[in-house]
């Protein structure tokens, strides 16, 4: 492009300066390479057959019955999981936004806990707890004579759904509550005044108003389920599209094209459902990190019996969905029961000794801390920049930036992972190492997958910062850059911290790219692995690796919980932190 049209492009609408123009170009280039690029290359891989471009790969893929079954299963699991998570998430959201009862604050913390499920080991511990020889299964049989035939969690689709549901329902809860607490009380009072009450009030007024949040949560749940590799693998449930993609990639005789085809189909499904959803809610609602104004909705103090009922209900939900956490702690710290029994055989710290005693497992923690921190930093800087341009500047091409920056939310993680693997497969000149085997590619992948959160959070915070706060600074003699550094960014800090922490936590427990973009074959070999890959490798070793995997899982849980706690301490005063995680 020559110089002139470029200037015209930016001058078309007012108030675009060169600082913003430069940031826009930088952001667009980065996002094109690291978000669009990987997605496109997966599509290329899927449509490029041996004889040329076309649907050849798709035909071959479709001819394999297990593949068809896997796709169908993933779709079914997505739908059923979304249904069950709604069943738990919606009432919880309503209760938590409308009622106050003893232990409210504690519940509020506990209810987000299921989201911090350590990958692999979380699903695996469900087998240990509820499997055919699970502790809870044996306990129920011995004490109550109650028999869970062949265990509740077994290699079946419903078990995959069960594990996903216990993990993902807070997505619905958090996003719906965000919407619910934003509803102007007078809207409901108005309906009440006109005679509406009870279920009618909820179904005609309250729920429709909360729909954007609920839809966002439901969509995130659906996409997450569509790209779940961990649960099917751990439950040994083979025919599940995303894990099939992973399998075809790592299997010796695997057909890599199948992986591409699966990814393309999954992407199309998720984009189709997004378009369907978009008729109800804007893209922007999909990730809500809300910091600021406390709820102004009608809040009722629950009476004694209602409180008791609510607490019982919530406790049941929490107990069920923290089983993976409890299981992880048990695997990490205890000698598991003998076959057919439920009694722990005592303390066992062997897993910890192995994890802390070996250099390569020590590195796991340091690596993941480093990778996740770097990714979070990239997200904060890039998110603040993009958020700023989107909110404060008006120019053509803005909507393109907007769409690309939220794309990772709508595209299953497994797609991005595969894309990174393809895009960075060329070898580094002068070495035998592929680009993708360097750990910083993993960092970039982490940061891009979680970028929507920081973009959205800085977007939301910026909209609450009145422009005149920036204009006042310029009026008094501050340059644009100075204004940005002294006024805008400090005012955005709460949102930036929230978004950054979210990036950190999710990068720390990320599965798809950690598993597929393997720095294992890079120059640092086994010493560059992220913690998630470490857990997977440990479990693959069989019985001897369970305890170390558990220990690593505990480290993930504790780190993530600590981050949640700290962020709430820092920004909590100014409001609450509620997050949709994808």
């Amino acid at each position: 492009m020559s110089r002139r049209p470029l200037i015209k492009f930016f001058r078309r609408k007012d108030s675009i300066d060169w600082l913003s123009a430069a940031s826009f170009i930088v952001a667009m280039v980065l996002l094109s390479i690291f978000i669009l690029g990987p997605i496109l290359i997966v599509f290329v891989g899927a449509f490029k057959g041996e004889t040329g471009w076309g649907f050849e790969n798709f035909h071959r893929y479709w001819a394999v019955p297990s593949m068809r079954k896997g796709l169908w299963n993933a779709l079914k699991a997505g739908a059923i999981t979304t249904f069950f998570t709604s069943l738990i998430g919606l009432p919880t959201a309503y209760i938590m936004t409308r009622y106050r009862f003893p232990g409210y604050r504690l519940f509020k913390v506990l209810l987000t806990l299921p989201l911090i499920m350590p990958p692999f080991i979380g699903a695996f511990s469900m087998v240990v707890m509820l499997g055919r020889n699970g502790m809870v299964t044996n306990f129920l049989r011995d004490l109550l004579g109650f028999k869970l035939i062949e265990g509740f969690v077994r290699p079946s689709l419903m078990s995959v759904v069960f594990v996903q549901t216990t993990h993902l329902w807070p997505l619905i809860y958090l996003n719906t509550s965000a919407s619910l607490s934003k509803i102007d009380p007078s809207l409901e009072e108005g309906a009440r005044n006109l005679g509406a009450s009870g279920l009618q009030l909820f179904s005609r007024i309250t729920f429709p108003l909360a729909l954007p949040g609920y839809m966002a949560g439901a969509f995130l749940t659906f996409v997450w389920s569509l790209s779940d590799i961990g649960s099917p693998l751990m439950l040994s449930f083979g025919n599940y599209a995303p894990s099939q993609a992973f399998w075809e990639l790592v299997r010796v005789e695997g057909v890599v094209e199948y992986a591409s085809v699966i990814c393309v189909i999954l992407t199309l499904i998720s984009i189709a459902s997004l378009i369907l959803l978009n008729r109800f809610v804007g893209l922007k609602e999909y990730a809500t990190v809300r910091v600021g104004a406390a709820s102004s909705t009608i809040v009722k103090r629950a009476g004694r019996w209602l409180s008791a009922g609510i607490c019982t209900l919530l406790l049941a939900v929490i107990v069920l969905s923290t089983l993976p956490h409890v299981g992880t702690f048990i695997i990490a710290f205890a000698e598991l029961p003998r076959y057919g029994s439920w009694v722990l055989q005592g303390l066992n710290l062997e897993g910890w000794m192995k994890v802390l005693g070996r250099v390569e497992t020590q590195h796991l923690m340091i690596n993941s801390l480093l990778y996740a921190s770097l990714a979070a930093m990239i997200d904060v800087v890039l998110g603040a920049l993009i958020g700023y341009i989107l909110v404060r500047k008006r120019f053509a091409g803005k909507s393109v930036l907007d769409i690309i920056s939220v794309m990772p939310l709508a595209v299953p993680g497994v797609v991005i992972a595969l894309g990174y693997l393809f895009l960075f497969s060329p070898r580094l000149p002068g070495t035998t190492f592929r680009l993708s085997s360097f750990w910083f590619i993993l960092v970039i992948a982490y940061s891009m997958r979680r970028l929507p959160y920081s973009v959205r959070s800085s977007h939301a915070v910026l909209q609450q910062i009145h422009v005149s706060l920036e204009e006042a600074a310029q009026n008094l003699g501050a340059t644009r850059l100075w204004t940005l550094l002294k006024i805008t960014f400090p005012l955005m800090s709460a949102g930036l911290i929230a978004g950054g922490t979210m990036s950190f936590i999710t990068a720390f427990t990320e599965v798809s790219t950690s598993l597929m973009v393997q720095p294992l074959h890079g120059p640092f070999g086994v010493h560059a692995r992220p913690i998630t890959l470490g857990i997977y490798c440990e479990i693959q070793r069989g019985a001897g690796g369970y305890a170390p995997a558990g220990a690593l899982g505990v480290i993930q849980i504790v780190t993530a919980a600590l981050c949640f706690y700290l962020v709430n301490r820092v920004v909590g005063r100014k409001g609450e932190l509620s997050i949709g995680v994808g």
Binding site: S468, A472, L491
Partner: protein, 364 residues
């Protein structure tokens, strides 16, 4: 201190004309007000002067210096925002002192300047607080202090009092005027409140639909409105449409025959060109009219008969809405009603007014 000139400034937002070929000259040290209904373009002009909005056409001068391409932060204007725009993460001292960081000569004596302004605005002792810990009136003072501490060439105020309650608003406008006089700083003030504008300004520009309707002192604006918009916007008035049927050169007065068949005598402004047959609007302020019981008035000149529609008691005055026989409603204010008879609704009355209180406005 400088004078400010706005020359032929035009600004369009999409298709809406926010400023239509506006020319203003604000003398050095004067308190100049841009007054008009919402959407008239007054804030746009202020923002063009501050440099936040760029005009499509026209020039802005501070003194002899053309400001068109000077970015906002180099214009040396002090602006008070409608929302105050106090930075919530900075203490009052840092809010006020912020601008001094960019003025080399002032940087050295930052502390002294800040305390001086704190004293001037009556904010002593609050400098260690955060904006959220202050009342609305105090926040307003901080916004003003922050703008004047840098000793700007021009002080810009964008509806600074609109977020305060009525009592405080009156108190603060006196305060702003006092400080402005003391610093003798060229000031441009934007408001939609006509009483505020009349009480505070040296000069007022009335704007409507992006165009200047009239520029003048408060007295000129109120007493000699140039067109019906100004007459109707500033204060309340009664309009009667008609045509000049006779001109008395010696008395310098005219007789207007209204559409309703009334004869109204009006004094003429000497310096204007009046002709027989000219279409005019006669504007009569409510407070210029007195009312009598029907039949008791002797004079036939400038008399309109009607019946009382509404008699609204307002304490210091009674606001009558009198229905004329041709179906119009005229408003009449009778001040200090304490010892007067208050007419009842439905009573027949005669309204009388002096020919000197009739303002004629030409219709183009």
């Amino acid at each position: 201190m400088v004078d400010v000139r706005v020359e032929n400034v035009t600004k369009l937002f999409e298709d809406v004309v926010a400023a239509d070929d506006i020319t203003l000259k604000i003398e050095e040290g004067r308190f100049f007000t841009l007054l008009g209904p919402s959407g008239c373009g007054k804030t746009t002009i202020l923002r063009i002067i501050a440099g936040f909005t760029k005009q499509d056409k026209g020039n802005i001068y501070f003194g002899e210096k053309l400001m068109n391409d000077v970015p906002p932060h180099q214009r040396n204007t002090g602006m008070v925002f409608q929302t105050y725009a106090l930075w919530p993460h900075m203490k009052i001292f840092d809010n006020i002192g912020f601008g001094l960081n960019f003025h080399k000569t002032l940087k050295k004596e930052k502390e002294r300047r800040v305390y001086e302004v704190l004293r001037l605005t009556g904010l002593e002792g609050l400098e260690r607080r955060f904006p959220s810990q202050l009342s609305g009136g105090q926040q307003q003072r901080v916004a003003l202090a922050r703008a004047i501490v840098i000793e700007p060439q021009v002080l810009l105020l964008d509806e600074p009092l609109s977020n305060l309650d009525a009592k405080l608003r009156i108190q603060m406008r006196t305060e702003i005027k006092r400080i402005q006089k003391r610093l003798a700083i060229t000031t441009i003030y934007v408001t939609h409140d006509q009483e505020e504008a009349l009480s505070i300004s040296d000069e007022i520009a009335i704007l409507d639909k992006g165009a200047v309707q009239q520029i003048g002192t408060p007295r000129e604006i109120y007493e000699e409105p140039h067109n019906s918009f100004v007459a109707g916007f500033i204060g309340l008035t009664n309009f009667l449409r008609g045509r000049i049927s006779e001109i008395d050169e010696t008395e310098l007065s005219a007789t207007v025959s209204t559409i309703e068949g009334l004869e109204i005598k009006a004094k003429l402004k000497a310096d204007e060109d009046w002709r027989k047959g000219l279409n005019v609007i006669a504007s009569i302020r409510p407070e210029a009219i007195i009312i009598h019981k029907h039949g008791s008035a002797t004079s036939g000149v400038n008399r309109i008969d009607g019946s009382v529609g509404v008699a609204g008691y307002l304490g210091n005055r009674v606001r009558y809405e009198i229905e004329t026989i041709w179906g119009d409603t005229l408003r009449v204010d009778i001040y200090n009603p304490r010892h007067q008879y208050i007419f009842k609704e439905g009573e027949n009355v005669s309204m009388l007014f002096d020919s000197e209180d009739v303002t004629l406005i030409k219709i183009e």
